[in-house]
C-alpha cells in the first residue's frame, strides 16, 4: 500500500484505505464501469450449490394454466382468520437475558416478518438486525429436527417419548440421591417462568448446581455496581435528557442490551432545539457505531481506559469538591508531572469542564469490557455530577446471589475435571465452542464425559455432538414463555405457529425432569403470571398483557444508592501517559460481532451477509488494526497473520486495516469459525468451510475481554475479505475528484456553523438553473417521498436486514459479494473523514441509500422494454416480469441502487426440505428470477395494501398508515416516509421544519429524487476544536 502519510487528508472523505491509497484493487473495482459484470466464471460451484440449498427457495405454482393448482380451505376456519390477510401477535425476543418486545406478522398461520412493539419500552417500535433475522433462524432447515441419542460413536434418532421415559427413570433415581452430581448449565435468560422451574428443580434435587454462562455478559457491571452501591445493579440511562454523554468502551447504541431504546433516546437529544443538541464523547479501543456517532472520540487501548477514568474522576472531583475534601480523597495528584499538552490530558480536562457545566444532565457509561473498578469509578463520577437519580438511575440485577458467568463456567469445568459431575444438562448454548479456552470444556466432555449428558439446542452444534442426548429446542416464535426487558418490563412470549420441528422449550424439558406431571408451557407461564399480578382480574390482565405485549408498570423499582463517596481514591494515570505503542506485542480485544453475536447466529445468511456497520465486512471476521499498527508490525491489509497469545495460537487469520482502531490494539470478533453451525455458517460433516476464524482459542477465563501481549506474525499470504465498502461507489467524475465531491453527497456541519448558516446544506453545490430535457411527470394524487436524517443514522444496519426480510431479497454468498453482486436493495455507505493514520482524528458518516425514486429517472430513459416506468404517485416501478436483463438501467443509475440477479438465487431444488424454508417468504412480493433487475420500491406492497384498505372504507390513506420496512425498524427514527403532497404528513413537516438541512443528493443532475437527506450536524466542544484535538 502506498504510504498514507504523504497525503493531506485531514478533511477529505474516503470510504476505505484502499481508496485513499488509490490501490490497484480499488481502481480496478471502479474502472470497470460495472464491476459485478466481469468474469462470470470461477464461482466455486460446490459452495454455490451449498448456499443455494441453504438459502430460501421458492417452489410451487408458476401461474401456468397447465400446472394444476389446488385450493385447500380450512375444514373449520377460525373466527378471526381471513385467508391471505396478515395478523399480528405481540411477543418478545430474549438475547443474553434482556428482552425486546416484538410484533410478529403472520400470514395464513406462518410468521413472515418481525417488527418492534411500539408500546414496549426497550423497542419503541424498532428492533435491531438480529431480531429481524429471527424469522430466517426459525425456518432454518439446519435446525435440530430430531431427538438423538448417542451410544458410543453411534447416533440414533429417538422420540420425545423415549427421552421422557429415560428422564423418568434416570431423574427418579437421581432424586433419591438428592441430585448428587447433577449439574445444569444454562444461558442467561430473563424468563421468570424458567427461574421458577429452576427453583423447583433445586428443591427436588438439593445437591444439584445450576451454572449460568454467557460468553458475552455483564459480569463486570454487576461486580462494579456491587462494589459501588452494595448490590449488583443495572444502570439505566435517560439519554434523551442528557446533554453530555460519555461512553467509556461502551457501545450504548450498538451492542448494549437496551441499545434499540438508547439509540432512539440518543437521536431525540440529537435534534437541534433552540440551537442546542446533545454531545457525545466516546473513549474506546475498537471503533463502534457509538464511536462513529461521537462528536469527540479518543482511541485508547482498552487497558488504558481505567487510567483515563481515574483521570476523569480526579478532574471531575476537582471541579465539584472544595480543596480540603479533595485532598482527603486524593492524597496525591494523579497527573503528577505529566505533560499537560498530551492529547489525552487535554481531552480529559475539556470533558470534565463540559460534564461539570452539565451536572445532573449528563451520562457517563462504562462498557462491559471494562473491569469492575472502572464501573465503580464511573458510578462515583455520576454521583459527583449529580446525575444519579436524574439521568442515571439504578435497578437491582435479578438473581443477585448468582456467581459471575466466568466463575460459573470455571467451577463447572473444575467439577467436570474432578469427576464430580454425573449428569450434565445443558439448556441451550454452545459451551464446547464458546467456553474460555483454558477450561478446555470440549476436551473434558469428549475425553471424560459425565455418565449422562443432555443438550437442548436449536441447532445440532459443537456441544450437541459431544452429548449423549441431543434435544431439539423450540424457537421463541413457536413456544410459550416470558421475558423481562433490560428495565424489567414483563412480556409474555406467545407462539405464532405450532413447533415446526417438534422442538420443546427449556421449561418443558425441565417439566419432564421434575417429579409429577409436566405442566404445559402455557400453564407454567400462566402460573408465573398469577404470581406477579395475583388472582384479581387475572384473566383480563393475562389477555391485556398478551395483546399489548407487555405488562404495564412492571419495570423494576429504582434502587437508591448510598455511596460512600469519601472513601480514599487511588489509581494511577501512568498508563495514559506512557501510551505510545512503538511496536512489539499488542493488545487483543475480543468483540461481540454485530452479525453473529457470540456465534449463535452463524447460520443466518441474512446476518452473515449484512455488512458490519464499521468494517463493512460480510461473511467472516478479521484481525482489525489501524494503519500505524499494521505498518509497524509489517502486516498488509487482507493478508493472513498468525496470532499468538501466551502460548495459545490462531494459525491463520486475515488482517484488516481499519482507521480508528487504537494504536497497539487488534480487535477480533467472536463467533466465527464454527465447524457445526450448518450449511451457511460452516459444517465439517457436510464439507462446508467455516465462515471466518474462531478466536475463542485465544480467550481465557482470566482475560475474557482484552489482554496484552499478543504477538502477530505476518505470513504474507493474500486473503480476500468480502468487504462491501468500495462497492457501488458513486463516482461522477473519476477518482481524482472524488475527495472533493464526497462532501456534496454527505453534507455536514458543526452546530456552530449550522447556527450561523442554517441553510448550509443547500449551498454545497452550485449549478446553473436546471432545465429538464424531458416532460416532467405529474402526480395529481399521492406523492410518495422519503427523508433520511444523517444526524440520527448510526449505521447499525437493521434497515438492511429488514428490507431483505420484507422484500425477499436473496442471499448471494461470499464469492458473489467479492464480485460486488450483493443484492441488498438498501445499502449503508460509510465514509471516513480525517487523517487515516491518526486514530484520534477519524470521523465517520453513514448514509443509507435506497432507490431515490427520481422524478426524472435516468433508468427509465434507457430501458428498451419499459420494464422500469414511472408511476403516477412518483415511484420508479420495476416490472420484473417485463425485464429482459439488459442492465442499461443499472449502468445509467447515478446512485448505483439497482441490483441484478446473476443467478436464480431462489432456484427450487425440488428438495422437500424447502417446503419449510419457502414459508419465510413475504407472499406480497414477487420472487425475482435470474436475469432480472430489481431495486427498492418504497415497499410498494405496503403502499398498495394501505391504499386499498383506505379506499374500501371510502377514505384516503392517513399519514403514518404506511411505513416502509426500513423506516419501521429504524431505532433512531432517521427515516421518514409519507405523502409529500399532504403538507401535514410527517415527511412534509420534517422537510419544512428542517428545510435548511434538506438536500437532494446529486440534485445538480436534475433527476429530482423523491428521497432527500437532512445534513448531519456535529456538536464538537469548542475547547477541543481550538486546540486541534478532535
Amino acid at each position: 500500500m502506498p504510504s498514507l502519510d504523504q497525503r493531506d487528508n485531514s478533511n477529505a472523505y474516503w470510504r476505505s484505505l484502499s481508496q485513499l491509497a488509490d490501490t490497484e484493487e480499488f481502481r480496478a473495482f471502479l474502472e470497470s464501469e460495472f464491476p459485478a459484470v466481469a468474469d462470470i466464471e470461477g464461482v466455486s460451484r460446490r459452495r454455490w450449490l451449498q448456499l443455494m440449498g441453504a438459502s430460501l427457495v421458492l417452489a410451487g405454482a408458476t401461474g401456468c394454466r397447465w400446472e394444476k393448482e389446488e385450493i385447500r380451505p380450512f375444514v373449520d376456519r377460525p373466527a378471526n382468520r381471513t385467508p391471505g390477510r396478515t395478523q399480528r401477535y405481540a411477543t418478545a425476543i430474549d438475547l443474553g437475558g434482556s428482552a425486546v418486545g416484538l410484533s410478529v406478522t403472520t400470514v395464513d398461520g406462518r410468521p413472515i416478518k418481525i417488527e418492534g412493539n411500539p408500546k414496549h419500552p426497550a423497542s419503541l417500535g424498532a428492533t435491531d438486525a438480529t431480531a429481524q433475522a429471527a424469522i430466517l433462524e426459525f425456518y432454518d432447515p439446519d435446525r435440530n429436527q430430531n431427538v438423538y441419542r448417542k451410544t458410543g460413536a453411534q447416533r440414533t434418532v429417538r422420540s420425545w417419548d423415549d427421552f421422557a421415559e429415560f428422564a423418568r427413570s434416570h431423574f427418579g433415581t437421581l432424586r433419591e440421591k438428592r441430585g448428587e452430581g447433577f449439574r445444569i448449565l444454562a444461558r442467561a435468560d430473563s424468563s421468570p417462568t424458567l427461574a421458577a422451574m429452576r427453583a423447583k428443580l433445586l428443591e427436588a434435587f438439593p445437591r444439584a448446581e445450576w451454572h449460568q454462562y454467557e460468553p458475552i455478559c455483564d459480569d463486570h457491571q454487576r461486580a462494579g455496581t456491587k462494589a459501588a452501591i452494595g448490590m449488583p445493579c443495572r444502570p439505566q440511562f435517560a439519554l434523551d435528557e442528557a446533554r453530555v454523554i460519555v461512553g467509556l468502551d461502551a457501545d450504548l447504541l450498538g451492542s448494549h442490551p437496551a441499545a434499540v431504546r438508547y439509540a432512539g433516546d440518543f437521536a431525540t437529544g440529537r435534534e437541534v432545539v433552540d440551537g442546542q443538541m446533545n454531545r457525545l464523547y466516546v473513549v474506546e479501543s475498537c471503533l463502534s457505531i457509538t464511536g462513529a456517532s461521537a462528536d469527540h472520540r479518543l482511541a485508547l487501548r482498552s487497558e488504558q481506559i481505567g487510567a483515563f477514568v481515574t483521570a476523569l474522576e480526579y478532574e471531575v472531583l476537582d471541579r465539584v469538591l472544595p480543596d480540603e475534601a479533595k485532598k482527603l480523597l486524593w492524597p496525591s495528584e494523579p497527573f503528577g508531572s505529566s505533560d499537560p499538552s498530551h492529547p489525552a490530558a487535554q481531552f480529559v480536562r475539556a470533558l470534565a469542564d463540559d460534564l461539570f457545566a452539565n451536572r445532573g444532565r449528563s451520562v457517563v457509561a462504562a462498557g462491559p469490557r471494562q473491569p469492575a473498578a472502572v464501573h465503580e469509578a464511573v458510578h462515583a463520577i455520576n454521583e459527583a455530577l449529580d446525575n444519579v437519580g436524574r439521568t442515571v438511575t439504578y435497578t437491582a440485577e435479578p438473581d443477585p446471589q448468582r456467581p459471575s458467568h466466568v466463575a460459573a463456567i470455571r467451577s463447572l469445568a473444575a467439577d467436570l475435571k474432578a469427576g464430580k459431575v454425573r449428569t450434565l444438562l445443558i439448556l441451550g448454548g454452545n459451551p464446547a465452542y464458546d467456553a474460555p479456552a483454558d477450561l478446555a470444556l470440549a476436551e473434558l466432555l469428549e475425553k471424560a464425559p459425565p455418565e449422562t449428558t443432555i443438550h437442548l439446542s436449536l441447532h445440532h452444534n459443537e456441544t450437541s455432538a459431544l452429548c449423549e442426548w441431543s434435544l431439539p429446542q423450540a424457537h421463541f416464535l413457536e413456544s410459550w414463555g416470558d421475558a423481562r426487558a433490560y428495565d424489567g418490563t414483563y412480556s409474555i412470549i406467545q407462539p405464532t405457529i405450532e413447533p415446526l420441528y417438534g422442538g420443546r422449550s427449556a421449561t418443558e424439558v425441565l417439566g419432564l425432569i421434575l417429579p409429577g406431571d409436566a405442566p404445559s408451557a402455557r400453564d407454567a407461564v400462566r402460573e408465573t403470571f398469577k404470581q406477579i399480578v395475583g388472582e384479581d382480574g387475572f384473566e383480563r390482565r393475562w389477555r391485556d398483557t398478551l395483546h399489548d405485549g407487555l405488562l404495564h408498570d412492571s419495570e423494576w423499582p429504582l434502587v437508591t444508592p448510598s455511596v460512600d463517596s469519601l472513601s480514599k481514591r487511588t489509581g494511577s494515570v501512568e498508563l495514559l501517559h506512557e501510551s505510545t505503542w512503538t511496536g512489539g506485542p499488542v493488545e487483543i480485544v475480543f468483540c461481540r460481532d454485530a452479525s453473529v453475536h457470540d456465534g449463535r447466529f452463524a447460520n443466518s445468511g441474512w446476518l452473515q451477509e449484512m455488512p458490519d456497520p464499521i468494517t463493512r465486512l460480510t461473511w467472516g471476521n478479521a484481525a482489525v488494526m489501524n494503519p500505524t499498527t499494521a505498518d509497524k508490525l509489517g502486516v498488509e491489509d487482507q493478508t493472513l497473520v498468525k496470532l499468538i497469545l501466551r502460548g495459545r495460537k490462531v494459525e491463520e487469520m486475515p488482517a484488516y486495516v481499519l482507521p480508528g482502531q487504537a494504536t497497539g490494539t487488534v480487535a477480533v470478533a467472536l463467533g466465527y469459525g464454527r465447524t457445526m453451525a450448518g450449511q451457511v455458517g460452516g459444517s465439517e460433516a457436510d464439507d462446508v468451510d467455516a465462515v471466518g476464524v474462531d478466536v475463542y482459542p485465544l480467550r481465557t477465563s482470566d482475560a475474557m475481554d482484552f489482554a496484552p501481549g499478543l504477538v502477530i506474525k505476518p505470513t504474507g499470504k493474500k486473503f480476500p475479505l468480502a468487504t462491501t465498502q468500495d462497492h457501488f461507489a458513486i463516482d461522477t467524475v473519476g477518482l481524482k475528484q472524488r475527495a472533493a465531491r464526497v462532501p456534496t453527497l454527505v453534507r455536514e456541519a458543526t452546530l456552530e456553523h449550522y447556527r450561523e448558516h442554517p441553510d448550509f446544506a443547500q449551498h454545497a453545490v452550485h449549478h446553473p438553473p436546471l432545465e429538464s430535457l424531458w416532460t416532467e411527470h405529474e402526480s395529481p394524487g399521492y406523492r410518495w417521498g422519503m427523508v433520511i436524517d444523517l444526524s440520527k443514522c448510526t449505521g447499525c444496519g437493521a434497515c438492511v436486514v429488514a428490507c431483505q426480510a420484507e422484500n425477499n431479497v436473496p442471499i448471494v454468498g461470499k464469492e458473489q459479494v467479492l464480485r460486488g453482486r450483493e443484492m441488498h436493495w438498501l445499502r449503508v455507505d460509510r465514509y471516513f473523514k480525517g487523517h487515516p493514520v491518526d486514530p484520534q482524528a477519524v470521523q465517520v458518516v453513514c448514509q443509507p441509500l435506497p432507490c431515490q425514486q427520481c422524478e426524472l429517472a435516468p433508468c427509465e430513459q434507457v430501458c428498451p422494454v419499459a420494464a422500469t416506468v414511472h408511476s403516477e404517485e412518483g415511484l420508479n416501478d420495476q416490472v420484473y416480469n417485463r425485464c429482459v436483463g439488459t442492465r442499461y438501467c443499472a449502468n445509467n443509475c447515478p446512485y448505483k441502487v439497482r441490483r441484478f440477479n446473476y443467478f436464480n438465487y431462489h432456484k427450487n431444488l425440488a428438495d422437500p426440505a424447502n417446503e419449510v424454508t419457502k414459508m419465510a417468504y413475504n407472499p406480497e412480493v414477487t420472487i425475482r428470477s435470474r436475469g432480472v433487475m430489481e431495486k427498492c420500491t418504497y415497499c410498494v406492497q405496503r403502499i398498495q395494501a394501505a391504499k386499498i384498505e383506505a379506499k374500501n372504507d371510502g377514505e384516503t390513506v392517513k399519514d403514518g398508515a404506511i411505513k416502509t420496512a426500513c423506516q419501521q425498524v429504524c431505532p433512531t427514527g432517521a427515516i421518514v416516509f409519507g405523502d409529500l403532497a399532504n403538507r401535514k404528513s410527517a415527511v412534509a413537516q420534517t422537510i419544512e421544519a428542517q428545510n435548511g438541512r434538506n438536500y437532494a443528493m446529486l440534485g445538480e443532475l436534475n433527476v429530482k429524487p423523491r428521497t432527500t437527506y437532512l445534513a448531519k450536524i456535529r456538536n464538537p466542544n469548542p475547547a477541543l476544536e481550538k486546540k486541534g484535538v478532535q
Binding site: R65, N881, N952
Partner: protein, 200 residues
C-alpha cells in the same frame, strides 16, 4: 412461389398468435373438481348469495373458498347420504381439507385484490361470467393483462350500484354508460394503470 413465401410466415404468426392467446388457452378451462358442486343449483336455482360462501370477498384480496363447515351448515341436514357429498363429509370427519382445483388462476407476479374491485362497484359477473348458470365452473373471461387494462382504462360499463354486486342477472335500467359514468364520478373511481398497481 412469391405468394407462398409471403403467406407461410403470416400463417405461422397467425397460428401462434391465436393458438397461444389466452382466448384459446384459458377461456373455457373447466377442471374436474373433487365434489361435483353445482353453482347453477346453489347460486342459480336456490339463489344463495355469493358472499354466503365467499365471505371474505369484501375485506380481503382472496374471495376465499369456504371451509367445509360452511357446506355442513346445510348438508348436515340436507342430502346427508348423497354419494356426491362423500368427500365433504369425509373432510368434516377427518379434519383434512377438500382439495379443490383452482379455476381462475393468475400468474404469481399479479396481485389481484377482490375487495378493491367489489367495493368500487365491479360485479362478480364482470370477471367470472354467469356462474349461476354453470354446472361446472369454467373460466369465462381471458383474465389477461390486456383484458384487465380494458376495464382499468374504461371502467364505466362494469360499474354498478353496491347492492347489485353479486346479482349476476342485474341489468341497468338506464343507459349503462351513463350510469357507469355517474357511479365513477360519485365514488371517485380512478383505476390506475401503473405497473405497480398489480405487479410488485
Amino acid at each position: 412461389m412469391g405468394a407462398l413465401a409471403a403467406i407461410v410466415p403470416l400463417y405461422l404468426v397467425g397460428i401462434v398468435y391465436y393458438g397461444g392467446s389466452p382466448q384459446t388457452t384459458d377461456v373455457g378451462y373447466a377442471p374436474v373438481q373433487p365434489v361435483p358442486f353445482s353453482h347453477a343449483l346453489h347460486a342459480g336455482d336456490l339463489g344463495i348469495d355469493c358472499r354466503y360462501c365467499h365471505n371474505t370477498v369484501e375485506i380481503a384480496a382472496d374471495a376465499a373458498v369456504p371451509p367445509t363447515a360452511t357446506c355442513m351448515n346445510c348438508h348436515s341436514m340436507i342430502a346427508t347420504d348423497s354419494p356426491k357429498l362423500l368427500p365433504v363429509r369425509e373432510s368434516a370427519a377427518s379434519g383434512l381439507p377438500v382439495r379443490w382445483v383452482r379455476v381462475h388462476d393468475l400468474p404469481d407476479f399479479v396481485y389481484f385484490d377482490h375487495s378493491a374491485h367489489v367495493s368500487r362497484g365491479v360485479g362478480c359477473v364482470s370477471c367470472h361470467g354467469r356462474i349461476d348458470r354453470m354446472e361446472v365452473v369454467y373460466q369465462a373471461e381471458r383474465l389477461s393483462m390486456g383484458w384487465c387494462l380494458e376495464c382499468h382504462r374504461h371502467p364505466e360499463p362494469h360499474l354498478r350500484p353496491p347492492d347489485a354486486i353479486t346479482d349476476l342477472d342485474w341489468t341497468s335500467a338506464e343507459n349503462p354508460a351513463v350510469l357507469g359514468a355517474g357511479l365513477r364520478e360519485k365514488n371517485n373511481i380512478n383505476p390506475s394503470t401503473d405497473c405497480s398497481t398489480c405487479h410488485r
